[in-house]
Symmetry: C2
Subunit: 249 residues, 2 copies
């Protein structure tokens, strides 16, 4: 690194570069984005539905999720975010946030002002593309989630989500030998999977007696990846870990 001080954006740069190599000037432009690291308590709302946010955030530590609440009061978690994920590039262009962003437990997020994001994207097309690509992957994950909830039963849904979280955490070095910290309550999982916490409890209980997973406090371990993958029909293509196609511009 050329910069002396460690930069909070670096995890994002690392993620981006597993897809498309950036020039030194582009990396530097990203590092020069104004940024403020914020530590939050559990259940902190970073962006509230209906707000007009002026900053975007990137996860530095912990887990963050997006949520919407129906008029009836039922909550749906739309997606989870792990360190290195830029959570709300959406609000860069939207006037009003269409959903809430919340931390699961203690977390750290980096706040970056919208104008800076847009200016950098306009100045460096490769960065603009990188941001765009990131939101596209996000949408792809959303589509798979939709398939999961719309067309699989609770058992398959749960298996699928566990596989996805494990894989995404492994990518950033937070899952070893199938073990990872899962800072979510069963109610969170239920809200993400479109079922009741009671039902999730029974599904997880069955997974445990079947020796597919183990859970000890906040640590979860996948004991039988193959079986869980099959139950959840998990195929990671939709995560687009490969990166974008080769560009000839």
């Amino acid at each position: 690194m050329h910069t002396a001080i460690a930069n909070h954006i670096d995890p994002f740069i690392t993620k981006i570069e597993t897809r498309e190599k950036l020039s030194e000037a582009e990396r530097e432009a990203l590092r020069l984005l104004p940024q403020k690291l914020i530590h939050t308590a559990a259940r902190t709302r970073i962006v509230e539905e209906g707000e007009r946010p002026t900053h975007s955030c990137m996860v530095a530590e912990g887990m963050v999720y997006r949520t919407k609440i129906a008029e009836s009061g039922r909550r749906q978690i739309m997606s989870f975010h792990v360190p290195g994920d830029f959570v709300d590039l959406h609000t860069v262009l939207f006037k009003v946030a269409d959903h809430t962003i919340e931390t699961a437990r203690n977390a750290a997020v980096v706040m970056v002002p919208h104008e800076a994001v847009l200016k950098t994207a306009a100045e460096y097309p490769a960065i603009g593309r990188a941001f765009w690509f990131d939101t596209l992957v996000d949408a792809s994950i959303l589509r798979e989630t939709l398939l999961n909830i719309g067309r699989r039963d609770a058992r398959a849904r749960t298996a699928h989500l566990l596989c996805e979280i494990a894989l995404r955490l492994r990518r950033v070095g937070l899952c070893r030998n199938g073990s990872f910290e899962l800072p979510l309550t069963q109610t969170d999982l239920a809200d993400a999977l479109g079922v009741t916490p009671i039902h999730i409890n029974r599904v997880l209980g069955k997974f445990r007696t079947e020796r597919l997973i183990a859970m000890d406090g906040r640590m979860a371990t996948i004991l039988n990846w193959g079986a869980l993958r099959d139950i959840g029909e998990f195929d990671p293509t939709y995560l687009h870990l490969e990166g974008p196609k080769d560009l000839h511009l």
Copy 2:
């Protein structure tokens, strides 16, 4: 218009400009995109999951939807697209298509090569932003769909979808007095809403006896918008019809 010949991209430009005004140079750049109009039969797959497409498409006529199939064979429709929608800006950056794009009935779509899209986006930041914004709205609709399917019962889901389609069609002048052509079978609706066609049939039947909607062949009419909106908890904020925030670059 400055160009003598009607351009197939014009509906997209019109849509874009309800959000952010473009300069004449930018409009012209969009019109100069290489394009090929294709007329398709019903149930034509434009892009197949797993393919490596080289073109993106925009809907010119009819209705197009995105779909994924689970290993178990169950199909989920992720989203519908009406004239003026750029359906698969995703594939511009993705190597492999993560889902299938299909026409409901006879339709017309405009095909545009990916390199041209990327080149224009890189050259004109406002156009790059417009593309990005379009995919962000797409993701926002996806999130609302997820809430719909995850946290509402079949009756509410159906009402919500009908409201959304009516509103989006009205925006492009294809819905008058609550009447619009709905080129979807009950099986399509079921696959979009995560239920069985039989159940959708009963829900629609109830809507009809309650005088909330009327259906005559392919024409659907919303007779009681207020009631349907309330049943479906429909709030169009997520469609971001307002456009992006005012930019100060």
